[in-house]
């Protein structure tokens, strides 16, 4: 169980832009083993909320509790060791670091049989893939698989995925949703996916709509249809691949 109590985050003044409250006194409890989709307009605060849970951003006020333990002051590393894992929207690229390096750190072992079992869970069959450098040459789909593999290798109590469909083609989304659902069901992982994508929203047990730094709606997807329709104005028409029906609530 992950509890947010009166959580607030204000972005400081930046280059003339005034300080702005991004997360505004949010309280919410994520139940163990459920699949949550967190959605909302661009700039609503949903990624900030995810980063506050992982400790990537510091909470200005409020508390975060994981299974009753106050982790508000924990570093990223400490939260990771406490059982929270985070899939980044834009995965880091390295020089010299291989997928095997990252996966070994994530899994806490370099035993190849164990690593192979993990990569099989994300649908990677090739052993050669383990020795791929995690650099700028990887495709969007490849880096996303690596990101997912390193998250599930942690066997987390809470897995957070920030826009996991970024940089991958539409046809890869369904298998990704299946994977996250499978992990959720098999291991009781509390799964939190930040996304606009309809497929993730439909897969979720609960939907959280963030607007103006607050939770504007919490519940099932069908009941949120009218609220989500307000988000349908797309800000990405110039960079979107242009599918007629991308299944996106953006």
């Amino acid at each position: 169980m992950l509890e947010l109590k009166d959580l607030t985050f204000t972005a400081p003044e930046d280059d003339g832009a005034p300080a702005r409250t991004i997360i505004d006194h949010v309280s919410y409890t994520f139940e163990k083993g459920l699949f949550y989709a967190v959605t909302g307009p661009n700039g609503s605060g949903k990624t900030t909320l995810a980063k506050l849970v992982m400790g990537i951003l510091p909470a200005e006020s409020g508390k975060i509790l994981l299974d009753g333990t106050d982790i508000t002051e924990f570093s990223i590393s400490e939260r990771s060791r406490a059982g929270i894992a985070y899939g980044f929207q834009n995965s880091a690229r390295f020089k010299g670091t291989t997928f095997r390096d990252l996966l070994s750190i994530a899994a806490g072992t370099d035993d190849e049989e164990e690593l192979v079992r993990i990569i099989a869970r994300v649908g990677i069959c090739s052993l050669d893939f383990l020795d791929k450098p995690v650099d700028a040459k990887l495709s969007g789909g490849e880096i996303k698989k690596i990101e997912l593999a390193t998250v599930i290798a942690r066997n987390p109590r809470v897995a957070i995925y920030d826009e996991p469909d970024t940089g991958i083609d539409l046809w890869t989304i369904e298998p990704m949703v299946d994977l996250l659902k499978r992990e959720q069901e098999s291991f009781g992982t509390t799964t939190i996916v930040v996304s606009h994508n309809k497929t993730f929203l439909e897969a979720a047990d609960r939907l959280l709509l963030i607007k103006g730094g607050k939770i504007a709606y919490e519940g099932k997807l069908p009941e949120a249809d009218s609220l989500l329709a307000d988000l349908s104005a797309c800000n990405y028409t110039t960079i979107c691949e242009g599918e007629d029906n991308a299944g996106c609530y953006r």
């Binding site: 992982m54 990537i56 570093s75 990223i76 590393s77 990771s80 060791r81 894992a85 985070y86 980044f88 834009n90 995965s91 880091a92 690229r93 390295f94 020089k95 010299g96 670091t97 291989t98 390096d101 990252l102 750190i105 994530a106 806490g108 390193t150 942690r154």
Partner: protein, 306 residues
């Protein structure tokens, strides 16, 4: 006889636990410590200067030569000229390197001037590590020079590594490539404290179809400084690439100057260079996998220099 320090140095520079198998020449404090030749590999004193001539017979396959140098004598500045002739069609590995143990206040240094003649269709992998250890305050200085002459369709890979302990280093790498030959140089240097390291590289692509690739990875800590110059000069239809990356830590400084010179209209030369701190997204990724900040930094650097 090897003492404990010798063994530690040999392990560091040549991954040797003792006297190697096969052909070798071990030099300690400016003198020959041991030498062994094989049926295909001759090692003799250099006819003109201090140093050795290593001749590898044409067609020699899968053999190796170890030629480590170890220094532990205060005040000694050892200069050695080594020439390697890799016969036509041979395929060998040469493991060199210099280890300095400084126990006093006087400086110690080594200048190894290595010349490689890689004959037609020959292949050579050259591995050179430089390390310096010891509690002494004397400067540890290593100034290697490597000159490579590659005949038609020759192939060479050179791994040049200096990972700490060396106070001053001035390296020169020069290569001339004939038609169809291929050269890959990877240089990895880590400096700390107020150490300085400079590397000057001049690669001449003179034959059609020749290829050169230079990859430099530098990590700079403390107030150390590294300078890197790479000149790729293309005189034929050829391909050349330079990739230089430096990670800056603390208050270290770096100057990197890749230069491309196409003297032939069909030359294809590229370069990429970057200097900067470890990227935050890399650190955050590793910390999100459970590593503390310092462990994350170390893992990124280790992999970068691997």
């Amino acid at each position: 006889m090897l003492d404990a320090i010798d063994k530690e140095l040999l392990r560091s520079v040549a991954d040797l636990e003792g006297i190697p198998k096969g052909a070798y020449n071990i030099r300690k404090n400016g003198k020959l410590l041991g030498r062994e030749v094989s049926a295909n590999i001759e090692i003799d004193a250099h006819p003109d200067q201090e140093g050795i001539m290593v001749r590898i017979a044409p067609g020699t396959i899968n053999e190796s030569v170890h030629i480590p140098v170890i220094l532990s004598q205060a005040g000694l500045h050892d200069v050695v000229y080594n020439t390697f002739i890799i016969g036509e069609g041979a395929d060998v590995t040469i493991v060199a390197g210099c280890g300095i143990h400084c126990g006093g206040s006087k400086s110690e240094g080594h200048e190894g001037i290595h010349e490689f003649r890689v004959e037609k269709n020959a292949r050579v992998r050259y591995v050179e590590k430089h390390v310096a250890i010891g509690p002494g305050k004397g400067k540890r200085i290593l100034n290697p020079t490597t000159r490579v002459f590659m005949a038609e369709n020759a192939w060479a890979e050179m791994e040049l590594t200096q990972l700490g302990g060396v106070d001053e280093a001035f390296r020169v790498n020069e290569a001339t490539l004939s038609a169809g030959s291929s050269l890959m140089i990877s240089e990895r240097v880590m400096t700390e404290g107020d150490q300085t390291a400079s590397s000057e590289n001049r690669l001449f692509l003179e034959g059609d179809g020749s290829r050169a690739n230079m990859v430099s990875r530098s990590v700079l800590k403390g107030t150390s400084r590294q300078d890197l110059k790479v000149n790729l000069v293309a005189k034929a239809r050829c391909f050349g690439h330079i990739e230089c990356d430096a990670i800056l830590m603390d208050r270290a400084i770096n100057k990197t100057m890749p230069a491309l010179e196409a003297l032939h209209s069909d030359a294809e030369l590229t370069h990429e260079a970057s200097i900067g701190k470890i990227a935050d997204d890399q650190l955050m990724k590793l910390m999100s996998l459970g590593l503390d900040y310092d462990d994350a930094v170390n893992r990124i650097i280790q992999a970068f220099l691997k």
